[in-house]
């Protein structure tokens, strides 16, 4: 393998920045990833519990408004609710800014990329106005602490997080033979959603060696995983299906229902060879190409399996393989990564972000992701965002990228950099002759900067 600092920052990091020296070696990248999470400390995002409390207050005010319908107090209740909803949105915009700032300033950008990758792998979203703000705190508390750890720990954290339990309807799943189902007729019974997605998306993969019976059995085993408004995750034995369940030939439980049986099954799924293959494939696709080198996938899967899913070792395997260092830029950056890397190349100062009002931050940095095809924190399904280049570079989405690149930089960075200098800052040795020509030939400085950001060389990595 031929380590290349510029390429490392573009392909495995957040893109080049005039403020941050690219990494000097793969060891340095891995070392930073194992060190302290500087960006999380410098640009904090609320934790899950705090955000969950906010969501509860949102629900309380909404319920109160509903109660006041047609009564004297309605106007006041409506006003209180709407005011709270504004702060709710403001918090969401603020966290978005914090997450972008991490990409602008970090020397540990591989970590930021991995957080995005795993948060997408374990997609969970709030399905109503109150819970929608939980996506960023979920990534912060469920995903981020585990990116350098073991896959099974992240799997367990995700599958037992209140947001995932809500998103995939596990909360309302009760064993048909459980005490709760017998007591309450309205409890409609088993919900297979989480079990299916854990097998299909989170572990074995859609072509993995499981059948409908495994889905059903895992769904029965999962009954009892629930969340309470006050305590967050809880295991409710009363909702759990009595008896043993067999998943992929392995039998769990049989005695009193308890969380340990569920966790044992999740650990077994995490260590399954099909999971190793699935995760290896996804990482290779994400970091290299829609059609990754088969040798790279095999290499990653073997290291995953040998290490029992120790992610640091899997990342090391990725960074040591020659296929990961093909010098031709491959994948198209998704919209969030595109905007984040543009902010990084522009070295947008922290003070610029903090000077933006919530609505401005939304209009300038968050809302534009929607026409680019990535309505942020609203991916279409639990399979998360697409990886294929084709799904990002549609006429409409490319037009949106161009519009943003031509208009936003002059509102983010004042003064704008000299385009000729900017071409090198943003692209390093990937600033080809076409990019340099466009930088010289554009009629205005902001067009020149926009065009550099629009070049395929900047949009790929």
């Amino acid at each position: 393998m031929q380590f290349d600092g510029d390429l490392a920052e573009i392909r495995f990091g957040a893109g080049l920045s005039p403020l941050v020296r690219p990494p000097v070696s793969a060891e340095a990248m891995l070392g930073r990833l194992q060190g302290a999470d500087e960006m999380a400390r410098r640009f904090p995002v609320s934790g899950f519990d705090e955000a969950f409390a906010r969501a509860k207050e949102f629900q309380r005010l909404r319920r109160n408004r509903k109660r006041q319908e047609g009564q004297h107090g309605y106007e006041a209740a409506d006003k209180a609710f709407k005011a709270y909803r504004r702060t709710h949105n403001a918090a969401r915009f603020k966290w978005h800014g914090q997450r972008l700032l991490r990409h602008v300033f970090t020397r540990d950008a591989f970590r930021e990329r991995l957080v995005l990758f795993w948060a997408d792998h374990f997609t969970a979203q709030g399905k109503n106005g109150a819970l929608r703000i939980l996506a960023a705190p979920y990534a912060e508390t469920v995903i981020r602490p585990h990116v350098g750890g073991r896959f099974e720990d992240m799997l367990i954290a995700a599958a037992t997080s209140p947001l995932m339990l809500h998103y995939l309807d596990q909360n309302r799943s009760a064993g048909p033979g459980s005490r709760a189902a017998k007591r309450r007729k309205r409890l409609s019974g088993l919900n297979e959603n989480l079990a299916r997605e854990v097998l299909e998306l989170h572990t074995l993969g859609v072509d993995g060696p499981y059948g409908q019976a495994d889905v059903r059995q895992l769904a029965e085993l999962f009954t009892g995983l629930s969340a309470s408004q006050d305590k967050g995750f809880v295991f409710r034995p009363g909702m759990a299906e009595p008896g043993a369940e067999t998943v992929l030939g392995q039998t769990y439980g049989g005695g009193k229902p308890e969380l340990g049986q569920v966790l044992a099954a999740l650990r077994d799924l995490a260590r399954h060879p099909a999971t190793a293959q699935h995760i290896a494939w996804k990482l290779a696709v994400h970091f290299t190409s829609d059609q990754p080198d088969p040798g790279l996938v095999t290499h990653l899967a073997a290291r995953y399996q040998d290490s029992g899913g120790d992610l640091m070792q899997v990342y090391a395997a990725l960074l040591e393989h020659s296929a990961a260092w093909q010098p031709v830029l491959g994948n198209v950056k998704p919209p969030f990564d595109y905007v984040a890397s543009a902010c990084r190349a522009l070295a947008v100062p922290e003070s610029r972000f903090s000077a933006l009002k919530p609505g401005q931050l939304n209009r300038l940095l968050l809302a534009p992701l929607t026409p680019m095809g990535q309505r942020w924190e609203f991916s279409g399904g639990p399979d998360g965002w697409p990886e294929e280049d084709l799904s990002w570079i549609t006429p409409q989405a490319l037009a949106a990228r161009l519009r943003w690149a031509l208009a936003a930089p002059r509102r983010l960075a004042q003064p704008l950099p000299d385009p000729r200098v900017f071409a090198t800052a943003a692209l390093g040795r990937f600033a080809n002759e076409r990019v340099r020509f466009a930088a010289r030939a554009a009629e205005t400085q902001s067009e020149a900067v926009g065009l550099i950001l629009t070049s395929p060389a900047f949009q790929r990595r």
Partner: protein, 402 residues
């Protein structure tokens, strides 16, 4: 700035781009789809109140359930057939009704029950499956997957938001009028140069420029063919009519299917205001489609407007209604056998309601959509029942088309 194919070419030539690589050199031509009719699907997001839009004033229970809403002809709605009356917001469509080009189906729904979440309700409506999570693509895309000769321009999803019902393996086009590229000629030329060597970007850029050019042409028609230099300064029409005009523009050409959404149906409070304006937008949209398509194409067009669920039959305490189950679909177009309200009416007596609160669905909305696609595009019944809407029984032909 006046964008024409010629001026683009000239500028590219000046820059010395490889002309052969540009799809603009040969006018892009699309093989016509194997069918010649047009289908427009409009998703009414938010849950339209069927009982207020197409008011069953002949049902003896309605008046008692609704104090301020759905007042029938007495309250200004237009009588349709002695049993149903049309909400005043849909009054602009009455000429279509009289011409047999407008109809409704009452008391339909998807198989989605009990949870009444917009999010899930729309997902299942667009996925076309019996349960949530049954498919990751949409039913219109699965229809296209069954049809030969389909190209990206055969179907258009229009607007900024994702249209799950057109997501999937079959190629489709997605564009929002007004999403165009307003670049200086120089910037446009340089962007072309930058992307020239990357086919993915190059093709998307050319397509975006082509669609932008079309937006501008469309804009000039809207302005009565005014000075092209002023087009960009002209105030934008309201989004829904822009979308309808754009859809019509596509459907006049090789496009056979267009899908978009109209939002604003979630009328928990003061429904009288909210529904009126939403129905007004729907009326304007249908009329804009009609005028944009012209007599010839309108004659072979079916428009189907569907919503994720209906609303409670009882009015709530704030002059609105809450999330319910059974709803109505609107059908329009010259290909429709209109002038009728179809669907088996379940009645509004307490015992006839779903969960004692909602209009009882008496048919699956997918059955009607399947029959439309069967009649318009010649899709096979077996494909419709197994692939497009897996597990659906189409039952008897309701005779929606001429």
């Amino acid at each position: 700035m006046h964008l024409t194919r010629r001026s683009l070419l000239t500028r590219s030539a000046l820059l010395g781009c490889s002309l052969a690589a540009s799809p603009l050199v040969t006018p892009v031509s699309f093989a016509a789809a194997p069918w010649d009719t047009r289908l427009v699907v409009i998703i009414l997001r938010g849950g339209m109140d069927a009982l207020d839009a197409v008011q069953p004033y002949g049902d003896p229970s309605l008046a008692g359930l609704r104090q301020t809403l759905s007042g029938g002809p007495q309250a200004g709605a237009a009588d349709l057939d002695g049993f149903y009356a049309l909400h005043p917001g849909l009054a602009p469509l009455l000429p279509l009704w009289r011409a047999g080009e407008l109809g409704f189906v009452q008391a339909v729904s998807t198989p989605y029950r009990d949870r009444r979440s917009h999010f899930d309700g729309q997902d299942i409506l667009e996925a076309g499956t019996a349960a949530l999570g049954g498919a990751r693509d949409g039913w219109l895309n699965r229809l296209l997957q069954q049809m030969p000769g389909v190209e990206a321009r055969t179907a258009f999803a229009i607007g900024q938001e994702r249209m799950l019902l057109l997501d999937g393996a079959a190629p489709v086009s997605h564009w929002a009028p007004g999403a165009g590229l307003a670049m200086s000629p120089q910037a446009e030329r340089l962007a072309g140069l930058l992307m020239e060597e990357d086919p993915l970007f190059h093709n998307a850029l050319n397509e975006a420029l082509e669609l932008t050019r079309q937006d501008l042409t469309l804009g000039s028609e809207e302005d009565g063919g005014g000075d092209s230099g002023m087009m960009q300064a002209a105030p934008r029409a309201r989004a829904h009519t822009e979308i309808a005009a754009y859809a019509a523009e596509q459907l006049r050409g090789d496009t056979r299917i267009a899908a978009f959404s109209i939002n604003g149906w979630d009328t928990h409070y003061r429904q009288a205001n909210g529904l009126k304006s939403a129905l007004g937008r729907l009326s304007e949209t249908v009329l804009k489609l009609r005028s944009g398509l012209g007599d010839g194409i309108w004659g072979k067009t079916a428009v189907a407007a569907v919503t994720e669920f209906g609303r409670t039959v009882r009015e709530n305490g704030t002059g609105g209604t809450d999330h319910g189950t059974g709803g109505a679909m609107l059908l329009a177009g010259g290909a429709i056998r209109g002038g009728r309200v179809l669907g088996r009416w379940p009645g509004l007596a307490e015992a006839d309601l779903y969960e004692r609160r909602d209009l009882m669905p008496t048919a699956d909305v997918r059955q009607h959509l399947a029959w439309l696609m069967h009649g318009l595009a010649g899709a096979r019944k077996t494909d419709l029942e197994t692939t497009v809407f897996p597990g659906l029984a189409m039952a008897e032909d309701p005779g929606l088309l001429l």
